[in-house]
Amino acid sequence: MKLEVNGAPIYFEIPILGGIPITGSLVVTWGVMIVLTILCAWLTHDLKVRDISKRQAAAEKIYELLYGLVHDNMGEGWMHYLPLVTALFGLSISCSLSSLLGFWSPTADVNTTLAWALVVFALITYHKIKGHGIGGYLKGYTEPIFLMTPFNILGEVFTPVSMAFRHFGNIVSGYVISMLIYAALITANHLLFGLLPGAVGEILAEIPILGVGIPALFSLYFDWFGSFIQAFIFCMLTMIFIATAED
């Protein structure tokens, strides 16, 4: 049995600047953005003070959960970061879970997660400069002694790299392992039902009976659990890094 692990599929190329490829990640991310926008508009239209509908109750519950998360981890003065954290959380979860519907998962592409991590890194640097002034920011690299400068620069560069690779690696490892499990089950199916004599065995061996329910169990862990945990971790790190950048 042949196994192939590929990167994002390329649909077509825009023929400017040496060809900009339109990949599956880009298409699915835009799709997810449209779906999320419609979902937000639907959840929040026509809000009431009394006699609230189930839809409004769900919207309020989601808002309270995310408000509590940001409030507990960043504090009262940082609530203007709620939209950023919420957007990252929603985008991360929806992108990871889009593989359940058979689409290419954009978070299994390092470009997506690195882009998010660079946004967070720009904000961290902005708050460091805001908190210490540009001189203090540059001086921070030479502490405790100037010999440590290369290591400090390395540590700074590795903040976004580790955030991006953590998310990417977790999702892509789930993808690779699910594919391996599926291939193994198909092979086991061939061997097991091939033991039956005559035409019955040959026909049963071609039907992937073992491949029906078992991959779903693993997908429960790798897709559902992994996606939620990685989105949560990414947002936690975003909040902690930004809130501690100024002191």
Partner: protein
């Protein structure tokens, strides 16, 4: 012959890179055990302890993920790159 050596080196390297999984395995098990001890001592703290443990576990998983990404690179990217250099 050179092709074979390059491919062999990449395959062995990918296998060695995945040894990085040992560290996070031990560390995560230790963290989960400690969290279990704390929950046994203070069951009312269960929710907070679980989420903090998850955060720590996912953070310590990063080193294993680095090994995995290196393994992927060695399997899918490096053979073509090195064979192109020959």
């Amino acid at each position: 012959m050179e092709r074979a050596i390059v491919l062999m080196g990449c395959a062995i390297g990918a296998g060695l890179a995945l040894i990085a999984g040992i560290g996070p395995g031990i560390g995560e098990g230790y963290a989960a055990g400690k969290a279990l001890e704390s929950i046994a001592r203070q069951p009312e703290m269960k929710g907070e302890l679980t989420s903090t443990m998850m955060l720590g576990i996912a953070l310590s998983e990063t080193t294993g993920i680095y090994g995995f990404v290196t393994g992927l690179l060695l399997m899918f990217v490096c053979p073509n790159m090195f064979l192109g250099m020959l």
